[in-house]
């Protein structure tokens, strides 16, 4: 990639992100839809633990899980599925006929989505700490930042790989994405420690970066996680790093391959597939 290519890439990322950020600010009702209301279901699981007479630390598990889920939703809705929406709207033709790299578009969407996801995550933490008085105690801020950044990179590269599927499919892809929502909530251990699923299911769940990432983040923020961790913190970081590279390479390869396949089969811009 030349310097000019890098500048153009950057321009495309910022332009697509701008649209998303400005767009959500134009429709303030999204705050209610995406921040306030989803927080209520998190609250419900905290009350479930209370009904079960569980230790206070378990509420912290829920809050952290809920604070990370918005980033999964960004990947699912704002990246993986976005090409589907763009295709249906007639934008994908124009995107693909432009010289920009589709990865730049996806990154732009993701960055825009991060603003939304980040706000929702922040709101969950605020309610968790302020209203439910959960106790979080960060043992190492650098470790937390590294775990968070690696989780996001692994998630985003996975989202890019998933997005390429829409060059060759339509509803089939979106249905699979939708079908993955709650199963990922379950597999990621959003409301309980991943270890609780057992080794086999835990290993299956490890394919999702959110599961390993969340477990790592819990280890450095929740006192009492010592016996509940799925894998040692450093191993989890290493897995996330490998995932980022693997999904990144996969995304690049899939993006090119699916574009070729879409152009051969004529599905690249075909609506209502």
């Amino acid at each position: 990639m030349t310097l000019t290519d890098a500048v153009d890439f950057n321009r495309a990322v910022l332009a697509r992100a701008y649209v998303r950020v400005v767009g959500v600010n134009r429709e303030i009702s999204w705050m209610l839809a995406e921040i306030f209301l989803p927080m209520l279901s998190v609250t419900a699981y905290i009350f479930l633990y209370r009904a079960l007479g569980a230790p206070k630390m378990y509420e912290g598990l829920v809050v952290l899980g809920a604070a990370m889920i918005p980033f999964w939703l960004v990947v699912l809705w704002s990246m993986a599925m976005q090409f589907y929406w763009e295709k249906e709207m007639g934008n994908l033709d124009i995107y693909m006929a432009s010289p920009t790299n589709p990865i730049a578009l996806l990154l732009g969407m993701a960055i825009g989505g991060l603003v939304m996801g980040g706000l929702r995550s922040f709101a969950v933490l605020l309610v968790g700490l302020g209203v439910f008085r959960v106790e979080l105690s960060v043992t190492s801020w650098p470790a937390l930042v590294v775990a968070f950044v690696l989780t996001l990179s692994a998630l985003f590269t996975m989202g890019m790989a998933a997005a390429s599927v829409y060059f060759v499919t339509g509803r089939k892809g979106i249905k699979i994405n939708i079908a993955l929502m709650e199963p990922i909530y379950m597999l990621s251990g959003m409301f309980f420690p991943m270890k609780n699923m057992g080794r086999i299911l835990g290993a299956v769940a490890s394919i999702v970066p959110l599961s390993i990432g969340l477990d790592a983040i819990r280890q450095v923020t929740l006192p009492g996680m010592a016996n509940l961790e799925f894998l040692p913190f450093k191993v989890e970081l290493a897995i996330l790093m490998v995932m980022t590279v693997v999904f990144g390479v996969l995304a690049l390869k899939l993006m090119a391959r699916m574009e070729r396949k879409g152009k051969t089969e004529g599905t690249l811009t075909e609506k209502w597939l």
Partner: protein, 300 residues
């Protein structure tokens, strides 16, 4: 004047009532067919039903793992049954409520046919009900899968032979009507807001999850939240569903109510909910027409 001399305008070909009924039935049938095609014609039927069961099944597994993690105390098995059943039936509630509002977003923003649907003589609400019926049918199949899976794999302990159908069926019918009413309210919101309002339906479902004692007794909630739960039909539906599965005394404050009394309360609340939903939907529809939002596209 003979019969043949009667001016054409005075001689309706079909009695008015019959025509209306035929229109309603035809409209419902067509909407159901469209709904089924939109939902499922991307794959084989059996794969579709597996797909449809995946999400609710995952939600039930979350409950299972939470109990495995933190439910190690006496009486936990009965509590698990009540929570699992409550959660399983809640998936119908969410499917119907969000499915109805999804119709507006899907037809407006995606297929862009909402203006043509509105331009037909069939009232839009009939179309919505037809589409919702498909969602309901699918979620009922999912429910059967979830309960069977719970019994076979998770040790739920709720065999179908022990279900009190006389309580389950009427309460579920009323529960579905209240879910559809809620869906109609969300559909109204979707008519006058942007695409993301679809998330509102799922998000607002959380209000019901939180306040209706779906997965825990109302007593766990702060007083004001429990008070909200007590005026929502969902609370009584889930309570009756639990009783039909043998899960009595889950919520102590409702335990004193007789089953008949609870059914009556659910009926009254459902009717009130339905009336409110219709009023609100008509209001939103009028507003969308006034402001030109009926067929807008709002992606960003």
């Amino acid at each position: 004047m003979t019969a043949d001399d009667t001016p054409i305008a005075e001689k309706p070909a079909v009695p008015r009532d019959n025509l209306a009924r035929r229109e309603i039935i035809g409209g419902l049938r067509n909407a159901m067919w469209v709904g089924w095609q939109m939902e499922s014609n991307w794959t084989k039927t059996w794969i579709y039903f597996l797909y449809a069961a995946t999400r609710p099944l995952a939600l039930c597994l979350i409950i299972f793992f939470i109990f495995k993690f933190a439910g190690n105390r006496p009486g936990a098995q009965t509590q698990f049954l009540s929570t699992y059943v409550g959660n399983a039936f809640f998936t119908i509630f969410i499917a119907v409520a969000s499915g109805i509002s999804w119709v507006v977003i899907q037809d407006r923003e995606h297929y862009r046919i909402i203006r043509y649907i509105y331009a037909t003589p069939m009232p839009f609400w009939i179309y919505i009900v037809g589409r919702a019926t498909v969602v309901l049918a699918i979620s009922l199949v999912s429910l059967a899968i979830i309960l069977t899976f719970g019994n076979l794999a998770l040790g739920l302990g709720a065999p179908f032979s022990r279900i009190d159908w006389a309580v389950l069926i009427p309460s579920t019918v009323l529960g579905i009507v209240s879910a559809a009413s809620l869906g109609l309210m969300f559909a109204g919101v979707c008519l006058v807001t942007a695409r993301h309002s679809i998330l509102m339906a799922e998000g607002a479902g959380a209000v019901f999850l939180l306040t209706c004692g779906v997965i825990y007794p109302l007593e766990v909630l702060p007083g004001w939240a429990a008070a909200i739960g007590k005026v929502l039909p969902m609370t009584y539906w889930i309570e009756l569903v639990r009783r039909s599965f043998g899960g009595y005394n889950f919520t102590p404050t409702l335990a004193d109510l007789s089953t008949k009394g609870t059914l009556l309360g659910l009926s009254v609340l459902t009717v009130a909910f339905a009336l409110l939903a219709f009023r609100w939907f008509k209001f939103a529809e009028d507003r969308a027409k006034k402001t030109g939002q009926l067929d807008m596209t709002t992606n960003y």
